[in-house]
């Protein structure tokens, strides 16, 4: 340090010390020159270190900012407001479900919860003449006879209809166990019914329930019969007396609150000047806000863990929208990608690395694979649209087409990673194998693959992780669409996590925004898990030679 200080002093006092310094060949001059030079080098090194530290700091700051922002935005979505309230199920309330709730919470309950209650309280019923006799109690099916549908039964716009008989077999199928139970109960309650014929509304089978709720997967004849019965006013949605008794009953339950109530409880101020130009338009008025606060204090409104997010599919109602379908879709798509890419990618790499002669053809293939890995991912979407949808006729938005498109994108990454892993295996091991009289295939299988498998898996997992987060090519093959149900077969339409986040983020309601942020956190968690797995595999199977 002292030397340095001296040196500085020297230079200050005598800026032209180089000229005046003792002869160049003297020991003193050489030392001074070298020290001066060294100091310059040290300064440069310090400066360089500062640059690198600065770069790391900036990168870390970006990351921290990104994560904190997402957590702040997404964390509230883990909680969801629910209301503890009496619900009155009765034949009167099912046509006007608002009546089922006490007045003070009526406008706070979610539309979705109301819709669910209606659905639960109602049951599909079928009107049918029941022929009661002595046998009915034992064998209620005998009370059902085929029925005639005539022109008179049909609505005025279907007058070109010809009379038709509905066979007994189909009626039995539509009535089901619950309907026959009802017949037996009627018979037991009033034995004098024997011998009479009475028109009854009977609760229908699961098949009928499904039809009335809009299911379309019925057999063709059943479908036609059901439509016919519906037109002839033989079907209706009635109050489920089997479940709630003829007079109805009142239960106390936690039901989902409206999204605005949820946002208010989480601290969004609907009255702040920037929120609405006219405060009267705000969904939470001052009166409502006061009511919510009061109920919250009483413990009638509370924030509970949002299991809807993980158990529901997408919905147009923010408080019930969930990610389940998208998560399952992502797992499905990526699983298929893995199944397609791993064997093709690894076998291609083995051929190129171990078998192929070094000629123009293989060099061309190599250059093209490297180029493919650098292509913008949206172009793979265009390719997928042209090839898989237009040429091969795969269904749009389906798991299959999504997986095929992402496989195109992932394949070059896996091939490059696998080739790097194969190339890292020292040649001496191959030569040892050959010298023992192994064929090339045996050398690959016995010696090269076992030592490179960790590298191959690491590369593949990173490629797959990239596929999970990919959105652009999926937009083009139609995976960004409203799909509330999780896919079952590969041709089912599906949504995937990034696509779900994308569509939520473009919604204006705050409930969706919050869910999008939480969705990103879930996606990040999946990616961290996969990358952690890759690191773990690499660390676990690292070898030295």
């Amino acid at each position: 340090m002292q030397d340095k200080a001296n040196l500085k002093k020297n230079r200050k006092e005598d800026p032209s010390h180089e000229k005046k310094s003792p002869p160049a060949d003297s020991w003193e001059a050489q030392k001074e020159h070298e020290l001066h030079h060294l100091e310059k080098r040290r300064r440069r090194e310090k400066r360089f270190k500062a640059y690198t530290l600065g770069a790391i700091f900036i990168a870390a700051a970006f990351l921290v900012f990104f994560l904190v922002d997402l957590i702040i935005k997404g964390y509230p979505a883990l909680k969801q407001a629910e209301i503890r309230t009496d619900i009155t199920y009765s034949p009167e309330t099912i046509d006007n479900i608002d009546q089922a709730f006490p007045e003070q919470v009526r406008d706070l309950v979610s539309r979705a919860a109301k819709r669910r209650l209606t659905r639960e309280a109602k049951v599909a019923e079928i009107r049918i003449p029941v022929h009661y006799d002595e046998n009915t109690a034992k064998n209620p099916e005998s009370a059902i006879h085929p029925i005639q549908i005539t022109k008179a039964d049909m609505p005025p716009w279907k007058q070109d209809f010809e009379a038709q008989e509905i066979p007994k077999k189909q009626l039995i199928e539509l009535i089901g166990e619950r309907g026959f139970n009802r017949i037996q109960q009627n018979m037991k309650a009033d034995p004098s019914l024997a011998g009479s014929v009475r028109e009854e509304w009977l609760p229908g089978s699961d098949l009928l329930q499904g039809f009335m709720h809009g299911a379309t997967d019925l057999k063709k004849e059943m479908m036609e019969t059901a439509v016919l019965l519906d037109d002839a006013d033989h079907l209706q949605m009635g109050f489920d007396t089997g479940k709630y008794g003829t007079e109805g009953k009142t239960v106390e339950e936690w039901v989902l609150a409206d999204s605005h109530v949820d946002q208010y409880l989480k601290g969004y101020d609907f009255m702040k000047p920037s929120a609405y130009d006219n405060p009267a338009n705000a969904p939470i008025s001052k009166e409502k806000a006061a009511r919510i606060d009061r109920l919250h204090e009483e413990g009638k409104i509370a924030l509970h863990f949002n299991d809807y997010f993980f158990l529901n599919g997408d919905s147009k109602i923010p408080e019930v929208a969930g990610m389940r379908a998208a998560i399952i879709g992502s797992v499905y798509v990526v699983g298929l990608v893995f199944l397609i890419c791993l064997p093709i990618g690894v076998l291609t790499s083995i051929y190129l690395e171990e078998f192929a002669p070094d000629n123009l053809l293989t060099q061309t293939i190599e250059v093209n694979i490297n180029n493919l890995a650098a292509i913008p991912s949206i172009l793979f979407g265009v390719l997928g649209l042209a090839a898989f949808i237009n040429l091969f006729g795969m269904p749009r938005s389906s798991v299959l087409v999504g997986a095929a498109t992402l496989a195109l994108m992932t394949l070059p990454i896996i091939i490059i990673a696998t080739r790097a892993a194969l190339r890292a295996v020292p040649d001496s091991i191959r030569r040892a194998g050959f010298a023992m009289g192994a064929t090339r295939w045996q050398v690959v299988l016995h010696h090269v693959l076992p030592v490179s498998i960790s590298g191959i898996m690491t590369g593949s997992i990173i490629g797959i992780a990239k596929a999970i987060g990919e959105t652009a090519p999926l937009i083009i093959v139609g995976l960004v669409s409203f799909v509330p149900d999780a896919p079952v077969t590969p041709t089912d339409p599906t949504s995937v996590m990034p696509a779900q986040i994308f569509s939520w983020w473009s919604m204006s309601l705050r409930g969706f925004q919050e869910r999008a942020a939480l969705g990103i956190l879930v996606l990040l968690a999946v990616l961290f898990f996969l990358n952690g797995l890759a690191v773990f595999i690499r660390a676990k199977s690292e070898r030295s030679w």
């Binding site: 030569r431 040892a432 050959f434 010298a435 023992m436 009289g437 192994a438 010696h447 030679w545």
Partner: protein, 302 residues
């Protein structure tokens, strides 16, 4: 008949005497390995040929890398059951010649040959020759120890398994015999399941020798087997070469002329791809015919 062969026949009795002498010396050097000497010597010869016909004949044999002629018209007969060393300065084609014997040169793009090489009277480079069959009969040990990253047992058993031995007892026997021949048995018999990578460099190289011996080869090729090892491991390996001499024909490439003098019965001196001299080691080192040989072995060049 070539000059080399005549010489070989003339000096036959002398050779035997020398063998026993060196054997005794090596037994004193390494008592631990000597107890297996008799076991090695008593087994039948792997190729079943007991006569003195040369095991390997080169006739006008040339090797080319594209246009470059690495070995030029070599004509020499390598005697059976003896240790023959190949010496010469760097780049003279020693390793290339060795690699040609089990056709490892096939793996090098652009490498081709002219002339004839016969192993046990079979043309090695004939179109009908199955390379796998050939390599199964020629064991090879490389410059750098290159055991497979598997257990010690699996390393030795790999060759026999590859060539159809599945029986566990047979394999155990082969592994034990090979490790004893390679003078490694005592050190590893308690940890055969340990990874071969955990052995020291010298042990790894002896494991590679054991691996090569496990397939019962007609011939063992050693490509500078001790150049990456310390002196102690080197002396270990030289001792074991003394043990297996007579049972196997050994062809060893070496940079170290003292080593060639110590371990081999015959020496082939190559210079720029050409054979300068081939003779009994004792004669070549004491009384070289050619001036170039003399200059090389006295260290004036190379």
């Amino acid at each position: 008949m070539s000059e080399a062969n005549q010489k070989q026949q003339k000096s036959q009795p002398k050779s035997e005497q020398r063998n026993t002498e060196s054997d005794r010396k090596q037994q004193e050097m390494d008592a631990a390995t000597s107890q297996f000497g008799s076991q090695v010597q008593d087994r039948p010869k792997p190729d079943g040929i007991e006569d003195d016909s040369p095991i390997l004949r080169f006739e006008d044999f040339s090797i080319f890398y594209d246009d470059f002629e690495a070995i030029k018209k070599l004509t020499v007969h390598i005697p059976r059951g003896e240790v023959t060393s190949i010496i010469g300065p760097s780049g003279c084609g020693k390793s290339t010649l060795l690699n040609a014997v089990n056709r490892m040169t096939d793996l090098i793009p652009g490498c081709h040959i002219k002339g004839k090489m016969e192993l046990n009277k079979e043309d090695v480079f004939a179109t009908g020759m199955d390379v796998i069959w050939l390599r199964r009969r020629v064991g090879m040990v490389f410059q750098k120890p290159n055991p497979f990253p598997k257990s010690i047992y699996d390393n030795v058993a790999y060759g026999p398994k590859l060539h159809g031995k599945r029986n566990g007892d047979d394999l155990d026997e082969i592994v034990e015999r090979s490790l004893k021949e390679a003078a490694l048995w005592e050190e590893v018999k308690d940890r055969l399941k340990a990874n071969a990578m955990s052995l020291s460099g010298g042990q790894q190289q002896r494991l590679c020798i054991a691996r090569a011996l496990a397939i019962n080869p007609h011939m063992v090729l050693l490509d500078e087997p001790t150049s990456a090892l310390d002196p102690k491991s080197t002396s270990h390996i030289e001792t074991l070469l003394g043990q297996i001499r007579g049972q196997y024909t050994v062809l060893i490439v070496t940079h170290n002329m003292q080593q060639a003098a110590r371990v081999s019965d015959y020496t082939l001196f190559l210079f720029e791809g050409e054979m300068i001299e081939f003779n009994r080691t004792a004669d070549l080192f004491v009384n070289p015919d050619k001036k170039q040989t003399e200059e090389y072995i006295t260290g004036r060049f190379g």
